[in-house]
């Protein structure tokens, strides 16, 4: 009995050999429970050991295995061959990022953007240790919880045409992260972060395409975070007109 198989196209790029990427096709035995990441591991173990891709947790929590699956940004460990079978699957490195090698992309700009939004709690007055911890009610936590679920996978940047068109744009995940801290009741850094938000390359680089929120594997909804920040930025603008600092 002939085994079921599925064809997988992979966009390959080996910096020391190739001047540009090319597509290579592999045939992998099909089982419905095989994830795309496992298919890649099969290829690496049995067909071509030179192929490069990132992964770690295999359970959609580390955010390493982002790639374009049939043109859509996905986590390799969260999509399955059965989602496409019997059609062939095409894998490419995450769009809008430079290709390091095969399915591995250069994430430096993304990481820099995440760091640039002051993603840490900036306390108001320093409490003395004896006064105990900074406390928060469940309602106060609910205000930002969703925006704190990001796993830094970068799928939203691969989905964002505005980031593609202008790499200066701060981008979805970083702005959602910024919103996460601005909305935290223990934080007092809003005034500092609003300066980042108010820039052209802050929230105003966004035209609300909305695809970032569709591809996000953790339902962070960066598009909503950005819209709410636009409202905040507009308020800040009005206040700034009467009270320039």
């Amino acid at each position: 009995m002939s085994e079921l198989t599925v064809e997988i196209d992979i966009l390959r790029y080996r910096p020391e050999l190739d001047s540009e990427p090319f597509t290579q096709t592999f045939e992998v035995p099909y089982t419905p429970e095989l994830s795309v990441l496992e298919a890649l591991q099969y290829i690496k173990d049995h067909l071509d050991s030179s192929i490069s891709f990132r992964w770690s947790c295999r359970m959609a929590i580390c955010g390493s295995c982002g790639m374009m699956v049939n043109g859509v940004p996905k986590l390799g460990c969260k999509v399955f061959l059965r989602d496409y079978y019997p059609k062939k699957v095409s894998l490419e490195p995450l769009a809008n990022f430079p290709i390091e090698r095969d399915l591995v992309v250069v994430m430096d700009d993304f990481i820099q953007k995440l760091e640039s939004v002051k993603p840490y709690i900036i306390p108001g007055e320093n409490k003395c240790l004896s006064e105990g911890p900074y406390q928060q009610t469940p309602e106060q936590m609910a205000k930002y919880k969703q925006y704190s679920m990001c796993i830094n996978c970068g799928l939203c940047y691969a989905a964002c045409p505005q980031y593609a068109l202008d790499k200066k744009f701060t981008g979805p995940a970083a702005l959602a992260l910024l919103a996460r801290y601005n909305r935290d009741s223990r934080d007092n850094g809003e005034a500092q972060r609003m300066k980042i938000v108010n820039q052209e390359e802050g929230v105003w680089g966004c035209t609300f395409v909305g695809y970032c929120s569709v591809v996000c594997p953790k339902d962070v909804d960066p598009a909503a975070a950005i819209q709410l920040l636009k409202v905040e930025s507009s308020k800040d603008y009005l206040i700034g007109m009467f009270k320039p600092d």
Binding site: K195, I196, T207, S234
Partner: protein, 125 residues
């Protein structure tokens, strides 16, 4: 290496245009379909009798102060919404040359038509 010097941030004036864009978009979403339906289809096709859209009736409306205000908002505000989208759409289509001029032309156009309608209404008063 950690960089401790504070970056300089430049505030964008986009909130002004975004505010108008939002107001115009809201108005367009709620009113434009029914307006097109009335002036573009029901009246011309005679489904609503022409007498409901007669010169006397419309003129009386447009020369009252509240009617003039309504006409101005209904005609001009959507333009601040649409020209904002057209301006950003040009960027999406890869027309990167002369962004400053594109901006002046787009919002200038919305402004010009607004002023045009405003003067007409004023002179009819």
């Amino acid at each position: 290496m950690p960089n401790n010097t504070e970056k300089t941030y430049v505030r964008s004036h986009e909130p002004v245009f975004w505010g108008l864009f939002g107001a115009g978009g809201m108005l367009t979403a709620f009113f434009t379909p029914v307006m097109i339906l009335i002036t573009g289809l029901l009246i011309p096709l005679g489904i609503i009798d022409k007498q409901h859209f007669s010169y006397e009736k419309i003129n009386a409306f447009a020369t009252s102060w509240y009617g003039a205000a309504i006409v101005l908002v209904l005609v001009a505000l959507p333009l601040w919404h649409t020209l904002h989208r057209i301006f950003h759409g040009l960027h999406d289509l890869g027309v990167h040359r002369g962004r400053d001029w594109q901006q002046v032309i787009c919002y200038g156009f919305a402004f010009a038509v607004s002023v045009f309608v405003f003067t007409l209404l004023l002179q009819m008063f």
